[in-house]
Point group: none
Chain length 241, copies 4
C-alpha cells in the first residue's frame, strides 16, 4: 500500500478553497502589516482550507493529520488546538463547505424570472456549482460512505436544503399556474432528479472516464452535458399539450 502523503488530487478550483480573504482582512481594522505572526483567524482558515483538500481527496480515514499539518503554515499542534481532533476538523470542513454553497444560492434571484427561465437558471446554477466544486461533491460522497454520520451534526446542512426546496416549490407553483408545467411533480423528487444529473457526472467521473475514455470535465463535453441536463429537466416538468 502506497503512502503518498500529498493529496492524491487537488481538485480545488473553486470558490471554497481560494484563499482570497487576505485583502478583506486588511481592510478591516488591523492596519499596516501584511502578515502578522499571530492571526488566529488566518491560522484557522489556513488549516481549514488545507484540510478541505486533503479530506476531499482521501476521505476521512484516508486523510492523514500529519499530511494536513505539513501543508499548513502552522504545526500539527494547532490543528488540535483549534479543532480538537481529526474528526472535529473534518466536521468543521463540512460546515464550511455547506456554508459556502448556501451563500452563493442567495445570488440567484429565481423568483423574479419566468418559470421556465427560472428553472433553467436553477439547473444551470446547480450544474455549474457541482462542476466547479469538486471538493464539495467528494465530501458529500465521503459522507455517504460514513452513513452521513457527521453531516447530521452540521448546522448549515439542514437549512441549506430547506431553501432549495422552497425555491423549487415556488417555481413549480408559478409554472403550473401559468400553464407551463404539469401539476403532478413533487418538489423534493424534482430536486433529487436535478441533483442526480448534476452530481453523478462529477462524483463518478473517474469510473466514467475509465469506462468510456471520455473525461466529463472536458469543456466540450461539459457544455453538452449542461445543455442536455437542462433539456431533460424542462422536458420532464413541461406540460404536454
Amino acid at each position: 500500500m502506497k503512502k503518498g502523503s500529498k493529496a492524491a488530487e487537488s481538485d480545488t478550483n473553486g470558490i471554497a478553497s481560494d484563499a482570497p480573504p487576505k485583502d478583506a482582512r486588511r481592510s478591516e481594522a488591523k492596519r499596516t502589516d501584511a502578515r502578522r505572526k499571530y492571526d488566529p483567524e488566518q491560522t484557522k482558515r489556513n488549516i481549514l482550507d488545507v484540510a478541505t483538500q486533503e479530506f476531499s481527496a482521501m476521505g476521512l480515514t484516508g486523510a492523514r493529520v500529519d499530511a494536513i499539518a505539513e501543508r499548513t503554515n502552522t504545526t500539527k499542534r494547532m490543528l488540535y488546538y483549534y479543532f480538537g481532533s481529526k474528526e472535529g476538523l473534518y466536521q468543521a470542513v463540512l460546515e464550511k463547505v455547506y456554508g459556502d454553497i448556501r451563500a452563493l444560492e442567495q445570488d440567484l434571484h429565481v423568483s423574479e424570472l419566468d418559470p421556465v427561465e427560472g428553472m433553467r437558471a436553477l439547473v444551470e446554477f446547480t450544474f455549474d456549482y457541482h462542476d466547479r466544486q469538486r471538493d464539495f461533491v467528494r465530501l458529500v460522497t465521503i459522507e455517504n460512505i460514513n452513513g452521513a454520520k457527521y453531516v447530521e451534526q452540521v448546522k448549515s446542512f439542514k437549512g441549506r436544503n430547506v431553501t432549495v426546496i422552497h425555491t423549487i416549490e415556488d417555481l413549480l407553483a408559478r409554472g403550473v399556474a401559468a400553464g407551463q408545467f404539469r401539476s403532478d411533480v413533487d418538489a423534493i423528487d424534482l430536486h433529487l432528479l436535478i441533483s442526480s444529473l448534476c452530481f453523478h457526472r462529477v462524483g463518478n467521473r473517474h469510473t466514467f472516464g475509465t469506462a468510456f475514455g471520455r473525461d466529463p470535465s472536458h469543456p466540450r463535453l461539459r457544455a453538452r452535458h449542461r445543455a442536455m441536463i437542462v433539456d431533460a429537466v424542462l422536458r420532464f416538468v413541461r406540460k404536454e399539450d
Copy 2:
C-alpha cells in the same frame, strides 16, 4: 477503549453478498465427501464475501484487515495466502462485483422489444439493479474516491460498459427509424443520464435521508422514483411532434 470492529452498515441485501453456497456448492461439482476439512474454494469465497461487505461499508482505507479476518471462518493468514495484500483483496472484490452485474444483463433481451418498451425495460432493469446492489453502488463510489485506480485493472469492467452502450445504440437506432425517438441523442450521454438517475438516489441516500427526512429505499418512494425515472428518460428521448 475499544473501537467497534464490525462493519458500520451491512447493506447486503442483494446478490453480490449473499453467501448462499454452502449447500448449493456441494450439489455442484465436488462429489464425494460432504464436508471436507480443507476447501480452498469455499475459504476463498467466504473471505471474498466478508470483504465485499467490509470494503463497501468502510471504503478501502476505512476497512480493517483484522475486522475482515475476524468475521471470516478462517484466519488473517489465509487472506494473505489467497489475495496477497489488502489491495489485492479489494481488487478481487471489485472483480467479483463487476462480474455479477454482467451475468445478469444477459437475461435482458431488449433487442427483441419495441424501442419504447425496450428503453423502459432497460431503465427499469438499471433502476432495480442499483436499488438492490447497494454494495455495488458503494464500491463504485469508493473507486471514484480512489480515482478509479483499481477498477482500471479489473477485466470485467471495460467489457461490461461496452455491452451497455451497444444495447442503447441499438435501441436508439431502432427508435429513430420507427419515428419514436429523436435523432440527436448520444448513446454514452444517455447512459450517463440513466446511470445518474439510478445511481444517485442509492449512493447518496444517507445525506438525502438526513436532509429531507425521507428514506429513498422505502417501498413507496422507490416505486415513485422508478416511475419518475422511466418517465423522465422517455420524455427525454421521445420525438416531439
Copy 3:
C-alpha cells in the same frame, strides 16, 4: 472525544483548600482600594488553591497544567510566572499544606493535661485532622509514590515532625512517672502507630469502601473508629497491673 478535565474528586472540605480569604484579606493589610485590578497575592493564592485540589485528586503526574489553569481566575502563563514549572507549583502546594497543620497543632496544649487525657487529646486531634484534611492525606500518599522526593525540600516538613515527637515524649515521660504508662514505648514508634491508625482509614478509604461496602467517612462509622483508635492507643501505652 474530549476528556473530563475537571478533578475527578474534589475532596476539599477542610482548611487547606477553603478559599475564604477574599474578605479576610482585605481587612488585613492592604487598606484602601477594595478590588484592585491586579492583585498578585490573590492571584497566587487562587492558583495555589486550585492546584492543591488538582494535585491531591490526580497526583503529580496525573494533574494537568491546563486543567489547573482552566479552573483558575487567571491564565496558564501566570502559573509559570509565579511558580516556574509544574513541579514548582506542586512543591508550593506541599509547602502550604504542611504549613497549615503546624499552625493548628499549636492550639493543642497537651502539656497542661493529665497524661492519659493528654494522650487521648492528641489521638483525637490527629484523628480529626486526618479525617478532615483529605487533601493533606492524599498529598502525603502521592509524595510516597514519588519517593518523598519533593517533600524533602519543604522547609515546614521536618520542623513539624520534631514538634510532634517532643509532645509525645513529654506525654510518655509524664505517664511513666505517674505510673500510668509502661516504660518501654518509643516515642517515634508510638507516633507511627497513631499515624497508621488515623491515616490509613482516610487514605485507603476507596479500596476499603469497595471491599466492604462501608464508607469510612460516614459519621457513625467515623465516631466508632475514633473511639476504637483512642482505645487501642491507650491500651497499648497503659501499664498493666
Copy 4:
C-alpha cells in the same frame, strides 16, 4: 520535569515478581527446548511482571508504555495485543497482585490454632506480607488515588476480602467463647486496624524516613515493629480481667 524512563524504584523483592515458572513450565508438557520463541503464556507473564514494577513505581499516569515495553522481551505491540490498552494492562496487574495474596492466605491454617496464637499468626502473616510485597502496597495506594476505579472491576478483589473477614470472625468468636477476647469487637473494624498498622509503615515509609531519619525497612526496626503491632492488636482484643 525529569523523564527517567527506568522504574524509579524496583521494589520487587517478593513472590509476585519472582519469575520462577520457567521450571514449572518445563515439567508440564512442553518437552525439551528451554526457550521457545513462541510462548504466549511466558510472553504475557513477562509483560505482566514488568508492568507490575513500572506501575507500582510510577502510578498509572506516571508509568510509560514505552518504558514497560523496553524492559520486556517483546515489543510494545504485544502489550496491546494481549492487554488492549494501558488501562487494560494496569487492570491485569491488579488482578494478578490480588490473586497472589489470596493464594498465600490459604496456607495459614489459623482455624486450627488457639485464638490468641491464631490472632498472632494472622497479624504476623499480614505484617510479613505487606513488608515483602511493596508492589502490592504501592498499587493499592495508587488505586486509592484513582478512587478505586479499576479495582472495582477486579474479580479477585472482593473474594479476597470476604475470606479475611471470615477468618477474623472465627478467631474472635472462638476467643470470646474461650473467655480470652472481649466480645464487642467488630471483625471489619479489627481488620481495618490490623491493616492500618501493617500497611502504613510500608506505604508511607518514604515520608516517614525523611521525617525521622529512620528507614522502617531496616531489619532491626522491622522486627521491633512486628512485635509492637502484634502486641497492640492482642492488647486491643484481649479481655481485661
